[in-house]
């Protein structure tokens, strides 16, 4: 029993502890690491990944997976860029709307046609990418700078980056839904055992549909921020975002088998992987060593390795004892 507790502890708090240690390390070692400018830029840049990871977290908790999030973000950024002359609301509506549509198509394929999530979202990943390229004519689509749309990515509100505020709101909503609503508990029940959840009378298909639609919508929202931040809709961006999001969710202790998960730990997972990159930049700035940006992925991979081995050992101990 203690091992189960320990596993849960490492799962949900381990990532927070690691994040705190990494920030402490950065604070002690580098000047300006906790400077306002650095904090702001880390939050601004990582908010897109945080939104995508939040959706992925819900999908994974149902026992599924969503490979389409990266190209849906690209598609969302293109749609938002076209709508940007009509203002930020129009841009948001276009980007999020198209993400919701792809999410709904994913849900249909998975719940009605019973296609495995991996294959269904692999196909929609291709289709979303093709549609983005088609809409954008294979180029990046410049956004309007007059309508206030770019504020969504570049602006500040009460001193905080607007994209970070959007991500924070999304995470609070996600946390509330998961912990305090029937749907949220249903997500975990379906992921734990779909059969039992159905026998208990839970609307498993509806819960899964909500998870995939939310994931699509959040990916579209990330695309809106992408377009606003970089001043253009980017049809070829988002490659590999899905796997980065999966890595963040896993580092956050959510099991890929479904049924267990934490919204807060997912956020910590995103920040942890994101801040690793910042630490690397600061380290290079000191001039002792010169690690190219390519080390970033090596370090992220090594980090993921340590986390999954730890998780696996704790879970193995858990199952052999019971």
């Amino acid at each position: 029993m203690t091992r189960i507790r320990l596993a849960r502890m490492v799962g949900s708090y381990g990532v927070v502890i690691a994040l705190a240690l990494l920030i402490l390390f950065g604070y002690l070692r580098y000047e300006n690491f906790l400077g306002l400018f650095n904090i702001m830029s880390v939050l601004r840049y990582n908010s897109m990944f945080a939104l995508v990871a939040l959706g992925m977290c819900f999908v994974i908790m149902t026992g599924g997976i969503d490979l389409s999030v990266g190209t849906v973000a690209a598609l969302g950024s293109v749609a938002a860029a076209y709508a940007s002359p009509y203002g930020p609301i129009a841009g948001l509506a276009a980007g999020v709307g198209i993400g919701l549509v792809v999410g709904a198509i994913n849900a249909l394929m998975i719940t009605r046609m019973h296609i495995m999530p991996f294959i269904a979202t692999l196909a929609s990943m291709l289709a979303a990418s093709g549609t983005a390229l088609l809409l954008a004519n294979n180029r990046s689509v410049p956004v309007s700078y007059q309508s206030g749309f770019t504020e969504l990515g570049q602006g500040n509100l009460i001193g905080l980056p607007i994209p970070a505020i959007i991500a924070a709101i999304a995470f609070i909503l996600g946390w509330l839904v998961l912990n305090y609503t029937a749907t949220g508990r249903g997500v975990l029940a379906v992921g734990g055992s779909e059969e039992s959840a159905k026998l208990m009378g839970l609307p498993a298909d509806r819960i899964k549909t909500l998870a995939y639609v939310a994931s699509g919508g959040l990916a579209g929202l990330a695309g809106v921020i992408l377009a606003a931040q970089f001043g253009a809709g980017q049809p070829i961006e988002g490659v590999g975002w899905e796997l980065f999001a999966i890595a963040s969710v896993v580092v956050g202790g959510t099991l890929l088998t479904g049924g267990v998960g934490s919204v807060g730990a997912t956020l910590a997972g995103v920040l942890l992987l994101g801040i690793l990159f910042t630490v690397l930049n600061f380290e290079n700035g000191l001039g002792w060593i010169s690690l190219s940006a390519y080390w970033q992925s090596v370090i992220r991979g090594a980090f993921l390795l340590v986390v999954v081995i730890l998780q696996a050992r704790l879970i193995a101990g858990e199952t052999t004892r019971t």
Binding site: H114, A123, N138, R300, A312, R313
Partner: protein
């Protein structure tokens, strides 16, 4: 049961159109595509068209052969593209004597191939070790090298393009034997060996048994861990070879690009080819046909002036349609 009664039983069963489609759908689609092209696409029935399509599909099939075995055990290998990048980065470093001086070019090329493919195989073994020893889910275990592997290749080359002109090595991608591109021969040899292994060997049976029911296989005395280790090592081996083919064709190795997105192309080919993603069944020939179908659809659309972006959407529809039809066939 005598042959006569068996025939009677078979005859009594109603023929399910989905079952037929599921079994022969890929072949039918392939034939239809060829017929369509013979009528509508100019210059289709030429050796050049054949070569273009075969060379494009070659690396996907080579990787997909290993992927089919992995998927047959109920696993998946996301790291193949990154392993291709590592193998593709390593080989030129060896045969251009960047790591250590080698006098003889043939020796250098031989060493380059052995080291590059060997390292990829070892990394595949590492995937298998994570999965077998720690019981980490294959999708996460191979995600580690998916992320870190390309980084390793980029760090090795500092992200820079390595160009070369070494005909002795590039024979892998550009050479011909009796008019057939050498890479196509490599592909066919791998396909034939893998199909034979699955159908005729104990090891092949064990792979399918593990994919069908891992627990039962373990209880019936199959060395589940060992089989998994070997299967992931084979997947790494195939990725290593594919990486060499890609750089040989390009006369250059770019760690940022070699094998990018290959894992998904390979998985799509396997799925369209009729191998169940949940394991327990495998068709290597199906994978070959699946990859050819996807390639030919793209070629047909592009050759008839349809933009690449639309071809991508079409590819998505085909993957879903193929998988759905196969499911209907099985459920019936």
């Amino acid at each position: 049961m005598t042959d006569a009664t068996r025939a009677a039983v078979v005859a009594r069963q109603p023929i399910n159109p989905f079952d037929l489609l599921a079994r022969y759908g890929t072949v039918i689609a392939l034939v239809l595509l060829i017929v369509f092209n013979l009528i509508f696409t100019t210059n289709f029935a030429t050796l050049q068209t054949l070569n273009v399509n075969l060379t494009q599909v070659c690396t996907i099939v080579i990787v997909a052969v290993g992927m089919t075995l992995v998927i047959a055990t109920g696993g998946i290998d996301l790291s193949v593209g990154s392993l291709m990048a590592i193998s593709g980065a390593l080989a030129p470093m060896v045969f251009m004597s960047k790591l250590f001086p080698i006098g003889n070019i043939y020796l250098a090329v031989a060493l380059a191939i052995i080291i590059a493919v060997g390292v990829a195989t070892l990394l595949g073994l590492f995937n298998g070790w994570l999965i077998a020893r720690f019981r980490i889910q294959p999708i996460i275990a191979t995600l580690v090298l998916f992320i870190a592997g390309r980084g390793i290749a980029q760090v090795m080359t500092n992200g820079q393009l390595q160009t070369f002109k070494v005909p002795e090595f590039q024979f892998i991608g550009l050479g011909r034997v009796l008019g057939i591109p050498f890479q196509v021969i490599v592909m066919l040899v791998l396909v034939i060996i893998a199909a034979w292994v699955i159908r005729k060997t104990v090891f092949g049976r064990q792979i399918l048994a593990i994919g069908g029911n891992e627990k039962a296989s373990g209880l019936s005395g199959i060395a589940v861990k060992k089989v998994k280790l070997v299967v992931y090592a084979i997947s790494g081996f195939c990725a290593g070879i594919a990486g060499l083919v890609v750089i040989a064709i390009n006369s250059a190795s770019d760690a940022n690009l070699v094998g990018l997105g290959m894992e998904l192309d390979a998985i799509a080919a396997v799925a369209v080819g009729g191998t169940l993603l949940s394991g327990g069944r495998a068709s290597i020939i199906g994978t070959l046909l699946g990859a050819l179908t996807i390639q030919l659809v793209r070629y047909t659309l592009l050759a008839n002036g349809v933009p690449d972006s639309v071809a991508q959407v079409a590819q998505a529809v085909i993957i879903i349609a193929a998988v759905w039809v196969q499911q209907q066939g099985r459920n019936a």
